[in-house]
């Protein structure tokens, strides 16, 4: 080895060790959504304030993230110090003691500012187990120009009959416009999120008080039939493999009349940089069936939680507090404008005049989020909590299996009745195996 080489390698070794003594490294698992990637970019703010903490990012696609994090947390693998989890997992994991309660949040964190529905969804026995990074409900987004052309008005709170009628009138196959875009891709967080919310708003529920699946009930039949009808008659080609992202692209390209999906979509469809229809979008509350007092109860949030198996709990909590604080929201606003602020977690954001001026969808988002009642998903009595999902560990699997049946129905391969019969059989089987009623 020449002297030069040795010097070079020495330099490398030194630079590799040029970390403050006693530094802790946090491994953070996140989903590859735009808001999370932005957080990663802005994280230098955190590391400057906390020079003794280093951050290591693991950014994964949602399904892989869930698979990795669940395996690790359930086997107490201890690979992550901060994990991105949905509000579906938080209460389930908290009850297993897999997550650490966030009881050392700084005084200025202002927990009372969190939206009540979100806070309730992340708390078990009054203790907060994860901090919301951004949250969403679901609402109707529609093209005001097409609605006018078709001579329909939707108002603030349309019924399903109105929505389906409008979808029919807006459909214009020659112009490549589908009246309604709905999720059709199988998955508990894809088509079943929409369909479960839709069923809720038709007065249906997943299980009765004895945990018996309810797919054989008339409310489900009505909801499923309308869903399949809408998607096959007024939906885009290939609707059965469309999820959030595919529908977003379609709507942005002006190919959808109505799109019912998560409220976060609003900021994308009204972004002139990405959307060709940015100035022609109207918003309305998630529809309900006439006479049913339920607007789907869709509530989702991506949250930061700390696995019980972490070896750096204090540093992790510092990070969680930073990323979900009011200061972080202000940081995003200064760096990238108010539109980019993570929505759906704090009341103060919706009282901020700057935000409301830039986000025409702010009021409808807040209204939808506040209307969600996760502790009472359906007008019927249910043994479970949730909304567009059922908060039991088995739901991922049952929801996905059932979702496959409805996806097949949306593709026109089976009838809605066949899909319902299959769904009932599948759910009954899985619930029996899991030992319900418990």
């Amino acid at each position: 080895m020449t002297y030069k080489m040795r010097a070079l390698m020495g330099a490398c070794a030194v630079s590799a060790l040029a970390v403050p003594v006693g530094a802790e490294t946090l491994t953070i698992a996140t989903v590859n959504n735009g808001d999370m990637i932005r957080m990663q970019k802005l994280a230098s703010d955190f590391t400057t304030k906390n020079p003794d903490i280093q951050l290591e990012w693991v950014t994964l696609e949602e399904n892989i993230l869930r698979q990795r994090v669940t395996t690790d947390i359930a086997t107490k693998g201890g690979q992550y110090d901060v994990v991105t989890v949905g509000n579906y997992e938080v209460p389930i994991w908290a009850r297993q003691n897999w997550l650490r309660p966030l009881d050392a949040l700084p005084a200025d964190y202002d927990t009372d500012d969190l939206l009540p529905a979100v806070r309730a969804a992340l708390s078990v026995d009054g203790k907060l187990y994860a901090a919301p990074f951004y949250g969403e409900s679901a609402m109707v987004m529609y093209r005001t120009d097409l609605a006018e052309k078709a001579g329909v008005t939707l108002g603030d709170s349309p019924t399903w009959a109105q929505v389906l009628d409008a979808a029919e009138k807006m459909t214009d196959r020659d112009a490549g416009i589908s009246g309604i875009c709905l999720r059709g891709k199988a998955g508990w967080g894809e088509n079943m999120a929409l369909l479960t919310a839709m069923a809720n708003s038709y007065g249906a529920s997943w299980f009765d008080a004895e945990w018996k699946p309810q797919f054989d009930q008339p409310e489900w039949k009505e909801a499923a039939t309308d869903y399949v009808n809408a998607i096959t008659r007024f939906g885009p080609p290939g609707a059965s493999s469309n999820g959030f992202n595919e529908n977003l692209a379609l709507f942005q390209q002006g190919k959808c009349g109505i799109w019912i999906d998560a409220t976060v979509a609003a900021s994308f469809v009204t972004d002139p940089g990405e959307s060709t229809v940015a100035d022609k979008v109207g918003f309305a509350q998630f529809p309900n069936k006439e006479g049913v007092d339920n607007h789907g109860n869709w509530l989702w949030s991506w949250n930061l939680g700390i696995p019980a198996s972490t070896d750096a709990p204090e540093a992790a909590e510092k990070f969680v507090a930073w990323a979900t604080s009011k200061d972080y929201t202000n940081l995003v606003a200064t760096e990238e404008g108010w539109r980019a602020a993570p929505p759906g977690t704090r009341t103060s954001l919706y009282e901020n005049a700057d935000y409301k001026a830039e986000a025409p969808f702010a009021d409808m988002t807040l209204m939808s989020m506040n209307a969600a009642t996760p502790d009472k998903p359906s007008v019927k009595d249910t043994p479970y909590t949730g909304g567009q999902f059922v908060a039991i560990p088995e739901f991922q699997a049952i929801g996905t299996a059932v979702g496959q049946q409805f996806s097949a129905a949306a593709a026109g391969q089976v009838s809605p009745d066949q899909a319902l019969t299959q769904a009932q059989a599948l759910a009954t089987r899985e619930m029996a195996k899991a030992g319900y009623p418990k």
Binding site: N32, V58, E61, I64, T75, G243, N245, L248, Q253
Partner: protein, 276 residues
């Protein structure tokens, strides 16, 4: 083949072969092209082939989001390491099977291959728990060993088929001449065995580089190779074709280039020596 053929026939065959080759290569070409587009151009209709504004912005974006070099380095270490260890274990085995075949040699070989049929997904959780107990999660050594094990049957089998082609008489002759063991290995065996070993190594590097189940599930950050890097680019929201293409190009380019430069060895490697 030494037959004379008319130029017309040759031209037609050439056109046909090139046409099919381009169709086969097209998905990769399209990915590479898309990686140089803006997100808007990537989904433009009608699609744009060459007449778009060439930009490196997707590469810049990917680079700013993830540490490509560290993933790349892990891929290299894991692929080369598992191959090296695999060869170390397999060469003696294949050697003795080829030159000292026992009654059960064929059965042992077939059994080895059959271990590859176990569905990895079914045993992930037991293995994950084992790894956690032994502190092997997110360690390069852990992944390296697993990849070595899953590819070992293929390595043994390939080497065996190569070694079998080496006439045993040569060994005998060298021994008669009083050559010492080391000389025997150096001057007689190595020249005949090295090409086969090189081909085997090459194929194994490719298989290890592209393995996406164990590498994804047993690593987190420190040992995460390019398969994990890719897993962050299939996005659930917003446009992502150009970024996905850039990340894909970055993940496959090293192995593509390696494969092309060592095409001869690769072809021999793929043919398992058994085909003549």
């Amino acid at each position: 083949m030494a037959r004379k053929v008319s130029t017309t026939r040759k031209a037609v065959m050439t056109a046909l072969a090139w046409g099919i080759a381009i169709v086969i290569f097209f998905p990769i070409l399209w990915t590479i092209l898309t990686s140089f587009k803006t997100e808007a151009d990537a989904i433009a209709s009608p699609p744009r082939f060459l007449d778009f504004d060439w930009t490196l912005q997707s590469y810049a974006e990917v680079q700013s989001r993830s540490n490509y070099f560290s993933h790349f380095l892990n891929s290299v270490i894991i692929a080369l390491g598992s191959t090296a260890v695999g060869l170390l274990v397999a060469i003696p085995a294949a050697w003795s099977m080829a030159f000292q075949p026992a009654r059960r040699t064929r059965d042992v070989l077939m059994w080895m291959l059959s271990t590859k049929m176990m569905p990895a997904v079914g045993v992930l959780i037991p293995i994950y728990i084992l790894f956690q107990r032994f502190g092997l999660l997110d360690s390069r050594v852990g992944v390296l060993v697993v990849l070595m094990l899953i590819n070992l049957p293929i390595i043994v089998w390939m080497l065996y088929t190569y070694f079998r082609e080496i006439p045993a008489e040569i060994l005998e002759a060298a021994r008669m001449d009083g050559a010492r063991l080391w000389d025997e290995i150096r001057h007689v065996l190595a020249p005949m065995a090295v090409p086969g070993i090189a081909s085997t190594a090459l194929l194994n590097v490719i298989l290890a580089w592209n393995e996406a189940f164990w590498t994804l599930n047993l690593t987190t950050a420190n040992a995460a190779p390019l398969t994990t890097f890719i897993a962050g680019y299939s996005s659930p929201e917003g446009l992502f074709y150009a970024k996905l293409s850039a990340a894909s190009t970055m993940a496959i380019a090293p192995i593509l280039i390696l494969g092309w430069f060592s095409q001869k060895q690769l072809v021999r490697g793929l043919t398992f020596g058994a085909v003549k």
